[in-house]
């Protein structure tokens, strides 16, 4: 919420480093949609979209959008070679049978155990459960891409989510504009702090204890 486009892009660029050539990757709505821009086409990463596309390509140049070709978020896309279309039951068959290597999801809140909340703010806004819980449960690796703080500058990373959960203990990694954290059995482990934030600014603005990785990087 409230992130600048360059911050959103920075998160997406960092997220792209979690992908290897040839992987099958699902990009959720929001910041995750930007990840594909930071991967070389010759890596042949196959982007999966739950509305029934495998092999989503880059965004089209303006004026060349196809009215029937968008990702699950409604953003116009193109196709990568080897792409195919299928119905949503098969799209989720790929997910449920464990064939998606990495899922990048947005979130309203994440807990220190990797619980994910991204479907409702009671009394305020209802998004709906969507495909998040199934991606969170069945993708081999789940990475949340989000702003570190909400609109009221409160931490979105918490000991316990306050908002209703979409899925429990599913998140493997969190990437924000301030930091990269891994979810471990012992809790959250901070591995990277992003320029211009300081370690202290990250720790203060995180609502859960952070273990500091012995390999902690301060990223320019």
């Amino acid at each position: 919420m409230g992130l600048q486009i360059d911050q959103r892009n920075m998160i997406a660029r960092r997220a792209a480093r979690e992908i290897l050539p040839g992987m099958t990757v699902n990009l959720g709505i929001g910041i995750p949609e930007l990840v594909a821009d930071f991967l070389p086409s010759e890596w042949n990463v196959m982007f999966h979209s739950v509305n029934g596309i495998l092999g989503v390509g880059p965004f089209p140049v303006q004026g060349e959008e196809n009215a029937h070709l968008s990702n699950a978020g409604g953003t116009p896309v193109t196709l990568h070679s080897g792409a195919s279309f299928f119905d949503s039951s098969i799209a989720y068959g790929m997910v449920r049978s464990g064939r998606v290597d990495v899922a990048f999801l947005g979130a309203l809140q994440v807990s220190q155990r990797g619980d994910l909340a991204n479907w409702i703010v009671p009394g305020k806004r209802v998004y709906g459960i969507g495909g998040g819980p199934e991606l969170a449960r069945y993708a081999k690796k789940v990475i949340v891409l989000m702003s570190h703080l909400n609109e009221r500058n409160e931490p979105k990373i918490l000991r316990e989510c306050e908002l209703p959960l979409s899925a429990k203990s599913c998140v493997d990694m969190i990437i924000t504009e301030r930091a990269v954290m891994k979810v471990t059995k012992q809790g959250l482990c901070l591995t990277e702090v992003m320029y211009p934030y300081s370690l202290e600014e990250v720790v203060t603005k995180t609502g859960a204890p952070l273990m500091i990785s012995e390999y902690l990087q301060m990223v320019d």
Partner: protein, 231 residues
Amino acid sequence: MVSKLISIEEAVDQIRDGIRLMVGGFGGIGTPVSLIDRILQKGMQDLTLIGNDAGFADQGVGRLISHERVKRLLTTHIGSNPDAGRQMMEGKLEVLFYPQGILAEKIRAGGVGLPAILVEPDVGIGPSQQEQLVRYAGKNYVIEPALTADVGIVYAKQADTYGNLIYEKAARNINPLVAMAGKITIAEVEEILPAGELNPEHIVTPGIFVNYIVRTSGGMGEWGFRSISET
């Protein structure tokens, strides 16, 4: 061969107040907009609507909600249509949320005549919605009933007069599933050919599932794209 092509007026005569209406489309793409237009014009209400999402307030399936024609909504996501969330919080609209892949399988099960599917309890079906659990092979599963509809409406790119359907790109989405799950299925189609002119290998929905075809009056052009949400 008796053609299944009828006028949009004749088609919408199949739709009455209070029925279970299932609609293809995903985030606006692949929605049968001409049929929805005509349903709005005719003033049908108290619908139970089954579809992937609540669309947008002024576009596609979302208009049925914004015009308060829907009393019950079975769906996965309403973030793109604030009217749906507001009506839900005001108690005007009952909303049952299902995870997207589960909703798709429930519709498919209805279409192929299976009674229900088994689902793991931790994929997003709220405990209050878990009607019946069963213990099987050492684990608990939710029994999720198959979904059928009085009328299913879909959008396709091509049809032949027998009702065989071919979709286009991401406009396929849940349309082939919805096409199987209606007691009556009506397809809104861009291009209609004589039976035999579609390649049998390329047909996605066999005509046996389709009762009526109508020619779309378009509408896609005006829409443009909109991102469903920005988290």
